[in-house]
Symmetry: C2
Subunit: 401 residues, 2 copies
């Protein structure tokens, strides 16, 4: 089998941990597999470099940031290769450029455009374990680019896709994807499998196991991801296409996102395009709008509600102020959170939502906004009830069983 493994910053956070990772790799290799390993920078290194840059500038040039930040992964990759060589294995470290990763020109948030696997393949043919510095590539000018936070996941998935690997194992300090955050609900259960779509909903909603772009790419390229812990020997969680086996499950998990603020606009003039105008202007200011709800209008006006990340609320207020001729009044609430129920089984079952609303009512939790999609139901509620709601819903759908 050809396996791509990715080890995150915590997994390679010290020389001892790099040694531990080398042992894991050796084990997989000695089982007769071909291996391409993608590594992050040692934990703390990237933040240290960012601090260095901010010593000189609040808005350092992104081109130069990429040369700066790409250095950390090179250190880990070369050290890991050296460790494996010392254990008697053939290993070759390589940079993103040498791994053939070509990106567009968006420094610090580049997209992978193509991967030329020739060098990796020739190294694999010579029985090398290939160690790739994650998070980085080069653009058509030959400039170093990086893929954004968590970009090593993206490197791993893209390489797995390009190499047609049998699996892409993403190692971190958690042993898989859980039905909800175990710090909130100790009865949370590790999932054995989850679909790409569910994973996307769960990760964008706060269950940070895998970078979202990586899951999207895995879905697009059909790469089977296995999320595992590098500190234990559990089987992890397989993230893949929906399967027949999965269909039995109605709800996979509950996510909580506290980084939310609610904006409610009353008596918005009901003329065509007004909503588009408002949201375009918000987009121009780089404000990410999440949930949007428009109530049916009565007479000449309508009510419009949406949520934005907490940190972008001030910016949103400024934008709304420019529409004061078209809006009766605006109401802001910073103390809200979003609780979401995620599951592919939902779409073909009625009554899932009703069950959630009843459970909330039973616990006197007022629902301020509701938004549903095929595989999730999100509710905006008072922030202080966030954890309670997670536990109540976890119990409601019997996720601990």
């Amino acid at each position: 089998m050809l396996i791509v493994q990715k080890y995150g910053g915590t997994s390679v956070g010290s020389l001892e941990r790099i040694e531990n990772v080398a042992n894991r790799i050796a084990k997989t290799k000695s089982q007769g597999n071909s291996l391409v390993v993608v590594v992050s920078a040692m934990s703390g290194e990237t933040n240290k470099l960012i601090e260095y840059a901010h010593h000189f500038s609040k808005t350092p040039s992104k081109r130069e940031m990429d040369i700066l930040l790409s250095s950390g992964e090179r250190v880990t990759a070369s050290l890991l290769a050296i460790a494996l060589q010392e254990m008697g294995y053939k290993a070759k470290a390589m940079t993103g450029r040498q791994a053939g990763i070509r990106t567009d020109n968006s420094h610090t948030y580049a997209r992978i455009e193509s991967i030329d696997t020739a060098f990796i393949n020739s190294c694999l043919e010579e029985d090398n374990i290939v160690i790739v510095a994650g998070f980085q590539g080069i653009n058509n000018n030959g400039d170093v680019t990086t893929l954004g936070r968590g970009g090593s996941d993206l490197s791993a998935v893209a390489l797995a896709g390009a190499l047609r690997a049998d699996a892409c194992e993403i190692y971190s300090d958690v042993d898989g994807v859980y039905t909800t955050d175990p710090r909130i609900e100790p009865k949370a259960k590790k999932l054995n499998t989850i679909s790409y779509d569910e994973m996307l909903e769960l990760s964008s909603l706060g269950a940070k196991v895998l970078q979202n772009r990586s899951v999207e790419l895995a879905k697009k390229m059909g790469v089977k991801i296995i999320a595992k812990s590098s500190f234990s020997d559990g089987a992890g969680t397989i993230i893949t296409q929906e399967s027949e086996q999965m269909e039995a499950v109605l709800v996979s998990g509950i996510a909580l996102d506290k980084n939310q603020a609610r904006v409610s606009l009353r008596d918005v003039v009901d003329r065509p395009g007004i909503a588009a105008e408002i949201f375009n202007k918000l987009a121009d200011e780089q404000i990410n709008v999440d949930m949007i709800i428009q109530n049916a209008s009565k007479e000449e006006t309508t009510n419009l509600g949406f949520t934005v990340p907490y940190s972008e609320l001030e910016g949103a207020k400024k934008v709304i102020d420019t529409f004061n001729h078209d809006i009766g009044g605006a109401d802001y609430d910073e103390n809200v959170c979003k609780v979401s129920i995620v599951g592919v089984g939902m779409k073909s079952h009625s009554g899932i939502a009703a069950k959630a609303f009843s459970a909330m009512a039973d616990n006197n939790i007022n629902i301020e906004m509701i938004s549903t999609s095929e595989i999730k139901i999100s509710m905006i509620i008072d922030e202080k009830y966030g954890e309670l709601a997670v536990r109540v819903l976890h119990e409601t759908y019997k996720l601990d069983q």
Copy 2:
């Protein structure tokens, strides 16, 4: 003017010092010059990375060491570019690869084979200050290579040569080349100019201002080097071709090398090729022989003396032992040092050597070995007299005047 500047590890050893370097560069730039700046890793960084590697292996693979070690210079280069941009200057950081530096395949000690200056030139044309990560390049396979300790000097000189720069300024924590080590002789004087050849003799003999390979390359390419301090505003020392002005000076400096051990072989069988056999065998074992002296033979045998670096004495002993049939006896002395008088003026003046020998005799310093070249006289003496000899000779040739 097009100026190449190189700042060593101490000069960029902290964020504050990088800021200081940025100010110096800004000053040179605002005088209307074009600038290419080569930087080393922040002091201590390279040693830290070497320690990391040695945690895993006593003999880490050189290919992987190059990926590892090349990361430090990238950090400095990008931070310096960010600092300059913040000050309102156009600046572009680049790796050795982007600077077009192509080397041979000798990892950790690569030789520069060619420099493609196209990217640097296009950046200069757009009025950028170009900041190059020193010490590194890539070979024909696209693998990262490094140029050996002090390799950033080499990067700077090679770039100055390839770009036909008007000057190559090498900044460190000393303000130029001195007549001798000021820690030994406080009256030591900074030289205004020195020839390449003298510099080569002085640096190989212990006055560590500039890496030897860089001086050799500068001589070959006709690059004028100016050695300066990044912590003061002195004029530094110009290292260039011999000039008429220089001819007046007989002696430029006195060097002391304490890393020496003497080997004396008695009654060596006087047959053709025996010396070659011994020295070839020493070379095979990577032992660097420095001074070699053979006395005229009497009868059937001869006496042979040479020096090796102190750390290589044990290896030399083993080699000598294999010749016990051809040698009457061997005598080793670890407590010796080499004092050298260097100066281009010497070669056309007699009496310089005699003056040295008299001065040593006047101070009861016994000379164990003597070796002379066109521009230097080296003497092996008891190690404990090393500093005294330096002061005596400094005085003898009136170098403080």
